[in-house]
């Protein structure tokens, strides 16, 4: 990543080296996705086949689905280039262009965060949005404002979630026959029941260790926290991402969820752990909150962005229609990437002084305010305030 060069010139730009720059970054990125893809295949294919709930042909479906996502977005990008760019009308020109635009990524990521039984035509629709609307219309790789895969995901979630659920939804064939689960993922259980107890939210799916390993219902490849952590370690080791971004994001969700748990008398750590291990939080934190194009570039900006992501994720989980708050919060905050980047760059260089104080206060108030609102929206702090007012009145 960007490094300030010390010493005397002339300087060589490392990213122009053969084994450096975006090509290597994207290769490392794809390697990081491998454990998740393999786990998805194991959990939704191989294990279900071993359980005897699907045939061998069906057991390949998760793998085929994810790879199809990658192929589809590549195809769409190719067709887009053919239509918009006269230069790119031969295979050679197309391969050259695709080798630097990483067309496979949006579709691949999108397929990984969709439910297992998403019909292929819905995946095509999602890839269309991800590649064309999310990426190419802005000018292609490096120019997009929003995370392309999440644009595709939100388009599908807003319009076709009913179709997906009718086709089978997120639960694989082994999960769907477990009565205790009742057809719901952990987060949809929280969203629909509103009951915040271990027996409702965790026990039907096993224990928190199952959440960590990822053998719980959810989107195809986002359930395994372990695989995400492996990917995280690899990406940090390869210096593709900043180590603190996922940590701050996940940590913020952990702390806010802990407060929410406390406000309804759940003093244990199970609820914050449940909150960070369910849904696509880990996946989003490692692969999307760190996306180089659509997130702030300076470290302070990344930290503030990650903090805001945590706050908005909790808010959307309790305030939105979707059980999952990761996609919406990342896309929402993508809009503010540029102002956050600019403000934090100034603060980072100048420190907190008279000139930057207003910016610091605005950012702090916004984040703390939204965090407080998120906890209030969880319908929990209200009870705390009522108790408090009764106590105060009692004292007088």
């Amino acid at each position: 990543m960007a490094r300030f060069a010390n010493g005397k010139g002339p300087f060589l730009r490392l990213s122009d080296e053969k084994n450096y720059g975006t090509t290597v970054i994207m290769r490392d990125f794809l390697i990081a996705l491998l454990p998740l893809i393999l786990f998805a295949w194991y959990k939704n294919g191989i294990q279900v086949f071993i359980d005897g709930n699907i045939t061998l042909l069906e057991s390949f479906y998760p793998l085929v689905f994810i790879l199809t996502g990658g192929i589809l977005s590549t195809l769409m990008e190719g067709i887009f280039y053919f239509v918009t760019d006269k230069e790119v009308r031969t295979f050679k020109a197309l391969f050259n262009r695709l080798s630097t635009s990483y067309a496979v990524i949006p579709g691949l990521l999108l397929a990984m965060i969709l439910p297992l039984y998403t019909p292929i035509w819905v995946l095509i629709f999602g890839c269309l949005f991800a590649t064309i609307v999310g990426k190419m219309i802005f000018g292609g790789f490096g120019y997009n404002i929003f995370n392309p895969a999440l644009i595709g995901y939100i388009a599908v979630a807003f319009t076709l979630m009913g179709v997906i659920n009718a086709a089978g939804g997120a639960l694989n064939a082994s999960e769907v026959v477990i009565d205790a689960i009742g057809g719901a993922t952990p987060l949809t259980t929280l969203s629909s029941s509103g009951v915040l107890t271990y027996n409702t939210l965790v026990a039907p799916y096993g224990n928190l260790w199952d959440f960590f390993i990822g053998t719980i219902p959810g989107a195809i490849a986002e359930t395994s926290a372990l695989a995400c952590i492996l990917a995280y370690a690899w990406l940090v080791f390869r210096k593709v991402i900043k180590w603190f971004v996922p940590v701050i994001y996940v940590g913020t969700v952990f702390i806010l969820s802990w407060f929410i748990g406390l406000s309804v008398g759940q003093t244990g750590l199970w609820f914050p752990l449940y909150s960070i291990l369910s849904g696509g939080l880990m996946f989003g934190a490692v692969f999307m909150a760190t996306e180089p194009v659509t997130t702030p570039r300076n470290p302070l900006g990344k930290a503030v962005f990650a903090l805001a992501l945590g706050v908005f994720t909790v808010l959307f989980r309790f305030a939105g229609d979707f059980a999952e708050g990761v996609a919406t919060s990342i896309v929402f905050l993508n809009i503010f990437t540029m102002p956050i980047d600019k403000w934090t760059a100034v603060i980072r260089v100048e420190g907190v002084n008279k000139k930057t104080l207003v910016k610091v206060i605005v950012l702090a108030v916004l984040i703390v305010g939204v965090a407080a609102f998120a906890i209030w929206r969880s319908s929990s702090i209200y009870h705390v305030l009522v108790d408090l007012s009764i106590m105060i009145r009692g004292a007088f």
Binding site: E58, Y61, T68, I71, G78, Y117, I124
Partner: protein, 397 residues
Amino acid sequence: MKTLWTKYGMLATLILLFVAIFSAGGVYSRYMTEQHDILVEENEIRKEEERLAAIEAAKIASFVALLDGADSAEKFTASAFSKSYLLGDHNTLFTPTIAESYKLFNGTEEVGVVYVVTTAGKNEGLKIAFAIDLSTDACTGVLVVEQHETPDYYGKLDEADFLDQFAALSLDQIVLAVDSVAGATYSSRGFEIALQYAREVYALDFDFEIPTISVTLVSIVANADPATFATSPFIAQITYGLNNTPATVYLSAAFDYNGIVGGGTDIDIDSQTALKSLASAAAPKAYFVSYDAGTGVIVMRSKGYAGMITVTITLNAGKTAVASFVVNSNETYNNEYNSGYTGAVPPAVENTMMNQYITQNTVNVDAVAGASEGTGPAMRALIQLLDSFITDLNGGN
């Protein structure tokens, strides 16, 4: 051609690939969904089967608990039998049916049977399970499987511990009856006929012999002999026992057996019990309570609409006619049953009829101003009996 390929080859390939994914992928994902739906459907069927099996298991466990020593039950088909019984309203005939039947086992030994009988109390759909011990031929317990009785009335059964009667109730008795609960007589009767029906089926299934009534009532009349009618107001002619032995017996006012007329060996106790129910259904309305030959005072009773009408009659000195009488009754009259009834206070009808008899010297009194359903016939029977008594006193005149 080459130019065309150079120009559109890439696009055609991409679109072809796209179409291939759309078709093959669509088929694959559709196939996945179909398999998923089949799996879910099979799972629903499995769950439903498990649910029903659990209900059946719980039911069997509750049946097994009805008989001490039983540890398992097995369904079997009971013998077909049809018989109708009068319901609690004494009017409607109802034919109970066996809804289910289970043999109860202790290990492999058959120890009992459970019949679930569909009967009717106040309402239809009363299902009662009776457990019968094969070794004692006794009902050992009862379980209400389903009922639609009026809650208030049905609750009275529990209050009265009605079901306790079935805990050890021998089937080896002529009249298989249970004590009904006041206020829930329809429901009580529903249980009684269900048990009676279960006994009939039990007799067919397990070679059980139901004790039968061994008495035939030939006739029953009021006893006109002043020497005995005070204690035995009725005399019945019967045949009883395996050989249909004829006998003439005395019966009390409550139709209890009071000995053989003219003396002799008493009839067996089962026949006495059976005779009581036969006699009570066929007995004449009127009978003598007492007669004092010195004063000429006769006390008579007759079964009216509201219990017994008691008439105390004083004969004249020559005992040839009634000198005076006093009626004591609880009768009530109303226009519905008494055409021409003028509103007179009871015992106006009784008095009128007695006076008709005295003044017109006829036993065919009509019940002017009181042709009641119960009172009129009761008084007519009493007057006829009185008249024949006075006639007998006067040597047939």
